[in-house]
């Protein structure tokens, strides 16, 4: 007690100053928040998913609020990986952020090319493969649900980069463990879960879907019990793999729960919208929790709930 707890999070070759990251696609490119959040105090900033060429994304409405959650069908709108490397990355580095670049693609080849470009850039700490975005017509979704496809993408990207590789997986195919095992076998050094759950919302008065693309991905506090279930299950089948928990975290307690279930790090998504300063509040809340309860480090509480 009284001593400052060790907040470091070691995810294989990737060591973060603390285990709290902001999730892909929910913090913009990161630079948008610079005035409100000191990016250098976050464990890492995961960028929005980057594709080979600029993507316009889906038509609006793209978002709908649901009970304690939201649906989104942004459709990976982004300026493309080149613009990211030239314009955004330098500003993120300047702000002191640890940058994890999220990689997306419609084909295996696209994943490889985006990953290769990012590996050549200066200042990317790791790659997170978005194998699970449900908003793409092809690609994303299937990769992360079927273990064989997951393995193929991971293995191909593994060839193209020396950066630490995180595979982000989807809960939409049921149990995640098989895909997680396949990803690790193919060279992923950490698993991130969960991406959004498939959902729809209807406007009863207009008698139409609330999203232009009908189906979207569900996120926010509503999904926390599901995300924690999957984290805990994958922890059982992969006891030694660094896991990153994501889904519904909006308080320090939520983050601590994931760590107690076995997460090495935790990502904050939707909650950033609701409370732009939440990620740093969670870093502080985690520190306070460790201090109050006399734990010397984050590691000391990981997996205490089994």
């Amino acid at each position: 007690m009284g001593l400052t707890p060790d907040m470091q999070a070691a995810l294989g070759r990737l060591t973060l100053r603390n285990p709290i990251m902001v999730a892909a696609g929910t913090f913009g490119y990161g630079v948008e928040y610079r005035d409100l959040v000191d990016l250098s105090e976050l464990g890492a900033v995961v960028t929005r998913s980057l594709t080979l060429t600029p993507r316009m994304g889906n038509p609006p409405p793209r978002v709908a609020e649901t009970p304690a959650g939201m649906l989104n069908a942004i459709g990976l709108q982004n300026d493309g990986v080149d613009a990211f490397i030239i314009e955004t990355l330098p500003r993120l580095r300047e702000a002191g952020a640890t940058v994890i670049a999220s990689v997306a693609g419609e084909t295996l080849e696209e994943y490889v090319q985006v990953a290769a470009k990012l590996s050549r850039a200066e200042g990317v700490a790791a790659l997170e493969l978005n194998l699970s975005c449900p908003n793409q017509a092809r690609g994303g979704m299937e990769f992360g649900v079927q273990p064989e496809l997951t393995a193929q993408v991971v293995a191909a990207v593994r060839q193209a980069t020396d950066l630490p590789l995180i595979a982000k997986l989807s809960p939409n195919g049921g149990e995640i463990a098989p895909a997680a095992q396949a990803a690790v076998a193919a060279g992923a050094e950490a698993i991130c879960l969960i991406n959004t759950l498939l959902g729809v919302a209807v406007d009863a008065h207009r008698r139409q879907f609330r999203l232009a693309s009908k189906v979207g991905g569900l996120s926010g506090p509503a999904v926390k019990p599901i995300a924690q279930y999957h984290l805990w299950r994958v922890r059982q089948s992969l006891p030694d793999t660094p896991l990153i928990g994501v889904g519904g975290v909006s308080s320090a307690e939520d983050a601590i729960e994931f760590i107690l279930l076995g997460a090495h790090a935790v990502q904050i998504g939707t909650a950033n919208y609701v409370q732009p300063t939440i990620a740093l509040e969670i870093v502080q809340g985690l520190r306070d929790y460790l201090t109050t309860h006399g734990f010397p480090s984050v590691d000391a509480i990981r997996g205490l709930v089994q």
Partner: protein
């Protein structure tokens, strides 16, 4: 405080604040309409007409999102600003319970704002229903800056008489106000866009139009103005999960200089857009 006349409407890097604003007054204005007056000096100092704040009355998981509210007035000297809202669903029910002295987590001021068209002599403000607040703020800031011969005309529309917002206040500014209701319960029976059409028929050249209301209304306003060559700024409604440019949920389709289309953000590049920029599907 005067408006930065030369500012670009479509993108202005902005200073915004995230703070717990104290409720200094919470006035019921009609059966289920309230004006909420908040103490938040930095926001009050910088608020421009058309801009909005994102409010969070309590730490609830449902409603989850903050909601955007247009700034109705701002008094930099007293450090207060206010928003006007009608109680519609869970969020606004919660907001209405906030007592004086409690705090509302507030992010702002956000977004683009109405920019006076200095070449125009007739400033026509078209307000649909709860679209009135930002236009009132705009009128109140514009009025003292008018040159001889310049005037403000308010066209206010709603479905029914009791859904008209802020008429007294517009009149108190000394502006001319014309009214339309769908059911004819007050003023002209029909759409407020009919009034606009009529006004522009005579002479569109000296007019500038500023509009806020349902998107369907704005589309008609934009169409009328483009046809007649009147400069037009519209404040769009869009779902806004974050209000600060990161989620891309508030996408608005715009024409790009190269002849293509792209999505801009209603919360950063908007909510006020120049009509000629917008692509309506």
């Amino acid at each position: 405080m005067t408006l930065p006349v030369a500012a670009q409407v479509h993108f202005v890097p902005m200073t915004r604040y995230e703070l717990p604003a104290v409720v200094v007054e919470h006035r019921q204005r009609a059966t289920n309409q309230y004006e909420l007056i908040l103490h938040a000096p930095p926001i009050a100092a910088r608020a421009a007409p058309g801009q909005f704040v994102m409010l969070r009355p309590m730490r609830t998981h449902a409603p989850l999102w903050r909601r955007p509210y247009s700034i109705l007035r701002a008094n930099p000297d007293k450090g207060v600003f206010s928003v006007f809202y009608s109680v519609q669903s869970a969020f606004t029910e919660l907001l209405a319970l906030k007592p004086i002295g409690s705090t509302v987590q507030t992010l702002g001021p956000l977004g683009s704002y109405f920019v006076p068209v200095r070449t125009a002599r007739r400033h026509i403000l078209v307000a649909g229903g709860v679209g009135a607040p930002p236009l009132y703020f705009f009128a109140s800031r514009l009025m003292p800056t008018l040159q001889a011969g310049e005037q403000i005309l308010i066209l206010a529309g709603a479905r029914r008489r009791d859904l008209l917002v802020g008429l007294d206040e517009f009149r108190a500014l000394g502006a001319e106000v014309r009214i339309a209701t769908d059911d004819g319960s007050h003023g002209y029976k029909g759409y407020v866009t009919d009034l606009l059409q009529h006004v522009l028929e005579t002479d569109p050249t000296d007019a500038a139009v500023y509009a806020c209301g349902p998107n369907r209304m704005l589309q008609v306003v934009a169409h009328i103005c483009l046809e007649r060559g009147a400069p037009c700024q519209v404040s769009l409604d869009a779902p806004m999960p974050c209000g600060m440019g990161v989620c891309l949920g508030c996408a608005v389709k715009v024409a790009t200089p190269d002849g293509g289309v792209w999505y801009k953000r209603a919360c950063v590049e908007g909510p006020v857009f120049r009509a000629e920029e917008l692509v309506w599907d």
